[in-house]
Amino acid sequence: MKEVKLFLGPQHPGMHGNYSVHMYVDGDMIKKARPTPGFLHRGFEKLMERRLWMGNLALIPRICVVEPDINEMVYAMGIEALAGVEVPERAHWIRMMILELGRLAIHMMAIGGIGGPTGMYTATYWGIAQRDLILDLFEKITGARIYHMYIVPGGVRKDLPEGILEDVTKVLDQLEKNLPEYEELILRHPIIHARIKDNIMLPESVVWELGVTGIGMRSATGTENDLRKVKPYARYDQVEFDVPTATYSDALTRMQLKYQEMHQSIRIIRQVMEKMPKEGPVRTNFSAGSALRFTVPEGMVYTAVESSRGEYGYFIVSDGKEQPYRIAVRGASYPQGLLGIEKYLTGYRIDDASIWMDTMGVCSPEIDR
């Protein structure tokens, strides 16, 4: 038997971002796999130590491209905890709306994106088109489509524009109308079923071994381990939503959970629009002088939110100066993206490697940082 070394990525269409896996294959079976991160390593953690607390806001959304708001949220939560600052009530609700819109956007991209490695590109086009409508909303609210820099320490950058709630309702209505169609086309389609059903298994023991969180954990263990439920931040304790779970985790189950989570996100956003205070301040000032050069009291704190891939957190250390002393990023895809690939990609076929990355939720920038 001869082994051939194959490179998957970083420019392979099935690869998620600038990430690469060295595969040693025999025929089309993967015998050994080695993750090769580093293509996107831009030294975020070092850069953050050299910039002002406020200046970092322009940097951190870039750690996760498709769902940037979680970065802003954990960063702001950490600074507020250290400084002991209370966030205005309305800002909490606006933050929740932004986070859930972000979750809808990334799930839409993931559900469409499964069309890439399975060879059904219609799904991809549909998914991206639907996501674009959500990006339009972001543009109206924050002024930017991808990197919003909207959730800032102390609240949100500015209040919602006039008439935005009607726009959000319109987009949600349309999305809700289209979702069954996406389910029919993508999640029930024989082409996709042939590739992802009973494939890419994630047993419960592996979840605990690697430290997988999020949909991977909930689909394998059947527990409602969602940080929004277990440890509510913002005002998640005041809205009603279900956490979809399963006890048999193949690639199809994880896609279905994403689909069900979208329904829950829509439900949350509708409640947010109903329950949020109609007016009031949205931002607490940190300092009396310049808004840019504030200091944060000495101390360290770890803050985490539930991203679309699992627990996403920042460990923030301050020594009382104008810059952070150290910030460590806990990427949600770190466990499955490195040790997971090394240990559990073995035994699959070459063409399943992309589906493995896709449905396990491997996002390269948060691994590299």
Partner: protein, 173 residues
């Protein structure tokens, strides 16, 4: 803090002989231990429900001449994050691997070795490079690493003179 929670913490303090410190965030506590007692603490915590290791990280306290290792554990039963901290000597940073308690730590240890230069006895792969390609300087997240000096020594300095076109060139056929 609920009543059951404070009982649980008292038991933990008594069993381990440590002090559980409050943190600025809710449902989050610190434990400071000697580096020789970290494994005992982690094994105990894993046994009482802290089944997930969220993050293993390091801080360079250059003025004290210490590295601080932080292991962030999570208990999904009650949503508590426990931050176990220990100090290492900065001159000779050595630690024993925790991969036998939390197998997922193997790549975190590799990353800390690459960025801080901490050695992990018992982890066979920790010395392999991970993110940095052909790195030949000191570990870059140490506080005495100077990115500007590194970049000046590695890459030639390019001048970017501001030259403005003074003459409009007309295209002739």
């Amino acid at each position: 803090m609920t009543n059951s929670m404070s009982n649980w913490i008292e038991t933990l303090e008594k069993d381990l002989g440590v002090e559980v410190l409050d943190s600025p965030a809710k449902l989050q506590y610190f434990i400071d231990v000697e580096h020789t007692n970290v494994h005992q603490t982690l094994a105990y915590l894993r046994h009482v429900g802290f089944t997930q290791m969220s993050l293993l990280s390091c801080i360079d306290w250059i003025e004290q001449g210490k590295f601080q290792l932080i292991c962030i554990l999570m208990n999904w039963e009650n949503g508590v994050h426990m931050l176990v901290r220990t100090m290492l000597d900065r001159e000779n940073p050595e630690f024993t691997t925790i991969t036998d308690i939390y197998p997922g730590a193997v790549y975190y240890e590799r990353e800390i070795h690459e960025f801080f230069g901490v050695h992990f006895r018992g982890n066979p792969t920790y010395q392999k490079p991970l993110f940095l390609e052909r790195w030949d300087d000191m570990p870059p997240l140490r506080k005495d690493f100077d990115p500007q000096a590194y970049s000046d020594s590695k890459f030639p300095r390019r001048e970017h003179p501001h030259v403005f076109k003074t003459k409009v060139v007309e295209v002739t056929e």
